[in-house]
Symmetry: C6
């Protein structure tokens, strides 16, 4: 499939964004209307929030959409120590004194790219405030330290990811941030779809893939009963890959699923039993 870019001003990607262009199609198996919803929001320039549990494909989806729309993708992994300056930019010292250096958000806004803030809830509420003026119809970013107002490029979009299971009193988005976004919900794919993904990504046959999906489902039933989250699709792919190197399936599951997910002996035993049953 060819990427198409009939949604926006045709655009020559500027050099500074070449590094951020996704050249090969990232594999993504849609499980609903998410592609159409994203494209609608994209066309109307409505900011999008991708909601769902760990490892269910949110990041892959945004990479796929960036490729599909032919747009550069600037990804920022949010964390608690991220300051507004990390997003917006700062003055750096140079032989001729200080020189302004755009941060990733400013670069995306100025030159026109999708800016993806991964796990936005990890950032301090007050750091996220800097995106506000870019997410309403002003579409501006005041660079206070430079006394400049950047007006966003027509191709600039903002996308964030958000894991509802992480939200807490201490860490949640401000109401005034949430209300700026439209949201698309994600969850683990259904049985067949997940088995297909595991088989394709790890290069194993569908029998092994389906059995691994059954292990995952049992682990997901333990959510709240000793596990914070069940096994992600990524863990199944890891297990499948290990079998391709000659590791027996039970040992591969132990290495890729059981040991990473828990240190509780009872939960480990339950998961190990689940593995035996599935193979």
């Amino acid at each position: 499939m060819q990427p198409r870019n009939n949604l926006d001003q045709a655009s020559v990607i500027p050099d500074a964004l070449k590094d951020f262009t996704i050249v090969e199609e990232p594999f993504y198996r849609a499980s609903g209307e998410e592609v159409a919803l994203f494209e609608a929001a994209y066309r109307m320039r409505i900011p999008v929030m991708l909601k769902g549990p760990t490892g269910c494909g949110k990041t892959r989806f945004v990479e796929h959409m960036a490729w599909r729309l032919g747009q550069p993708l600037v990804t920022v992994s949010c964390h608690e120590d991220m300051t507004a300056a990390d997003l917006v930019g700062r003055f750096l010292l140079d032989a001729d004194g200080t020189k302004w250096h755009d941060g990733p958000l400013t670069m995306a806004a100025r030159l026109g790219a999708i800016c993806y803030l991964d796990e936005i809830v990890e950032a301090r509420q007050d750091t996220t405030v800097v995106i506000h003026s870019l997410t309403d119809d002003r579409r501006i970013l005041p660079l206070e330290k430079k006394n400049e107002v950047v007006r966003a490029h027509p191709n600039f979009r903002i996308v964030v990811s958000y894991n509802p299971g992480y939200q807490s009193v201490l860490k949640d988005l401000k109401e005034s941030t949430k209300q700026r976004f439209s949201a698309i919900g994600f969850d683990y794919p259904d049985d067949l779809a997940e088995a297909e993904i595991v088989a394709k990504e790890a290069g194993v046959d569908s029998a092994i893939a389906s059995a691994l999906v059954r292990v995952a489902q049992r682990s997901r039933n333990l959510r709240g009963h000793g596990l914070d989250e069940g096994a992600s699709t990524r863990m199944l792919i890891h297990a499948a890959m290990l079998t391709r190197q000659g590791i027996p399936i039970a040992q591969a599951c132990r290495m890729a699923i059981v040991l990473p997910i828990t240190d509780d002996p009872d939960v480990r035993e339950a998961l190990t039993a689940a593995v035996s049953v599935c193979f």
Copy 2:
């Protein structure tokens, strides 16, 4: 309508503020005397606080007034990490050593602009102290690091926004800050006005707009019963825009209103039911 500037010393906007001038009239539908109240305070140089819930139009109002009065608008999104230096300015390194660089507050005071501190309650109480000498009849800003006293330009004004729902023991303005401001209260517009805004901003017909307003009202009734805030006008506009891209109305409401506003399954169900009833 032409912007008029018969309130103040006629003024050639200095170059440094050109970026901050609002050229096109921002759409604003007044719902009371707020324009007259703002102009009265403006003429008397009384600082103004805009009070009201998220997304009810405070920022749009101040942009409209800046356009109306023909004055540049310097907007600062306040956040907890904002230091006094972020407002006032700092020394930056240069080929010839350090050089002072005015912050947005100082620039507005020195050259004459409306300085708008958005969500002032997010700033640390002690950062806000720096505005005190600009908000009484002294109208000065001592730049302690420079041992300079800036006397405010006659056209300098200060406006802040404040969401009473956010105030808490930990985060509130100091009494001595509050008492420096006159206040204008804002709330969501009434039914007809809100439908008119949605129709105009999203480009949809009034039937859809009115139905969306009914959804919003039901969500606002859930405030305190599972929701921190109801749907804002902005969310209604998002939903309406998505329908213009062919997204069915129920799905558009889910994407623009239900999913962003809550992760609680019961509240989601209640909101989804409200959507069904309204269409």
Copy 3:
């Protein structure tokens, strides 16, 4: 009235302090012996603390006294992030390396000015420690980073303001700081005096001014019953000014007094009723 300076060594104000000289007499209506007490402490070089509630005229008083004594006034608004370096000075980078830059306290001590630390209780207790050696008979300021000892100019004085209502276990002056100051108590002026101030500052007739003072008194009776502080004289002046722009008196009171002072519906109602009664 002409300012007089017969108290101290006649002094040519140095250039660096020109900016800090108060040229026009600031209006101040004395309500007791405060002028004589201040002058006595000034002559004996005893540090002075001005104690009283928000907006009752402490800052105006010190400006008036500085004008009256013909002395420059260096004002520092204290806040929690203020470091000792903000008061004392720091090394700044320059084409030839670092160069020491006096902070406001050092400048006042070195060149001879009244240094006014506004709301000193906001500063960290440990920052205030740097004034200790200037407030006893040593009258010195050791600049530790420079290994210099500044001996205070004969005209150097130190004045602080302090709002007893703010004091708490977390934020109070250290005993060893308090004991270095003599204190002058301030409160809101009496009825007639306050009405006279409002009439003069806002340019309204005494009937409106007196009615506004009655509103203020009722609000002050609510202190501790829903209000942290009553309306200050400044708020009355704002209300009076708004009426001069054609805003009806009730609306002016709502904008300048009721809305800024509280978000509690019951207290707002009580204040609104008080306004109706007074006009």
Copy 4:
């Protein structure tokens, strides 16, 4: 035994990594399938987590594997103050201005090395977020401050160690970090193996080595009954080494095992009794 490197693109080790190459074979006595498991994960480029108690040989294992695979090993001891910049790099000042300096993670990713994050749980959760994009199939590291995207060298691998006994509510890996790793479990070696290790590393005969292992086992039984952890293999080696310098065995055990491990008189007595029994 010769190190072999038939797993990956043959590679000339770049100069910058020469310092990080392990020239002599580190002694490692395998106690299970760990070598095969590691090699399988290595071939499939799956990140590996080494789990186990203090001093059981995790670090030695990764050094052995790096030697075995002929790959450079970049080790980072994690700690709470480690910032993302410590891993990723920063701008440093230079005669010609600032110059970017790769951190250890970036260097390993760019040039191709095994990056070993020792005791990753000590790092702040939010610092560890920077490894996310390197541990999934993107294998990229966005250098936000440089607006560069580093694509990992084919030989880049990531290995972390993790002591489950340390995990707490405050300090644990995020679910979304854990799920990126496969895990290999480590524990103290069995009796014979441990005695062999002690004898070989300290140069003592097997009688002393075996007796020391018996002391260690008794101390490990006290885990949870006064001791946080039992004596590690390393402590046994220390005790054995001291005997080679003529220190009597009881005193050597006291110096190398009893005194370092506890300050509780009862536990000390129990351990001392255990020592007497074993010799």
Copy 5:
């Protein structure tokens, strides 16, 4: 009286310490053996701690002793934000790069002065650790950032002050710091001595001075009953000075003693009554 310096190596005061030499005899009225005790410790180079309440003359005593011994006095007011670098020194930027700049402790140690750490308990326990190697027989100060070891000049001495009333669980000296000092206890002088001090320092007659001392004693009896500390000698001197400017005695006491010491109406009343009784 002439200062004498027969205790130590005769010493030409180096230029850098000229600023720190006390030229005029500071008035000090001894109340016990403190002068002899200090001189004995001085001769034996034993560090000295001056213990006592606020404003009882500890700082004056050390200034007197420095004058008496003909030694320069480097005073550091300790506070919570004081870092080890503030005491020891730091690298500062210069036209030729960074240059080391001795802090006050290092300067005193290197060149030979009495270093007086005022209110040492205010400093963080861990900052005070840097004095340890100077306070035992090593008499060295390792400058870790410079890899230099400063050996203390024979004339270097260390003196600290300490107010036992301030000590708390959070703020106290470490046992290992306390044990390095000998201590001299201070308290308010007895009636006659205090009256003599007040009369001399304020230039008033002994009747007024004695009456003020009686006021102070009553206030000191309120310690623990509404007051943290009673009136210090310094406050009495302030009150006496104000009377010399024509302020009536009751008003002078109110300004210099009652208002600064308390905001509690009951305690104020009690103190005011005490004033009436004494005059």
Copy 6:
């Protein structure tokens, strides 16, 4: 006695360590096998922890051993604000840009010295992590900011001191740090030995010295009954020295022991009584 250095590679002390060489024999009176134990650990390059109460001679012991072994001693007083960079080194600015500057730990490791971390428990657990790779058989120090790996000089050793009485939940070494050290226990010397030390160090006769030791023993019995620690040997030496200056013994004990050790009137009385009894 001549220092001997037959334990290690004969070594010319490099210039940078000249400052750290101990030229004169520090007096140390051994009370057990500590010298032999230290030398055994030294020969085998096992890290050593010196455990014991304040002022019992741990620092003197390590200085004595450094002299005895003819090795330079780099001492670091640990404190809570010490960062990893304070130990390891940092880039400093220079006329030609930044230049790396070894910290004390790196200098000792690179050039070959005993590095003594005094009161290691005061440092943050996470700062101490940097010594891990130097305390196992790797004997390396990765300088992450420089991408250099320092291999320790054969003469490098690491010694730490640790006061078990200070350990708390908040401040203790990590298990993985403790297990890297062998330990030597210290306590106050026995009666005769302590009297001998006091007599020798203070230059007094043995009658006074013995009586002071009896005072110390009584104070040590009060440990846990009002005192955190009893009088250290150092305090006895201070008291003895003061008597040599003509201070009466009771006053000398009060100044050197009673006042520094406690502010509790009852404990002071008990100690004063103990003094009377002993003389």
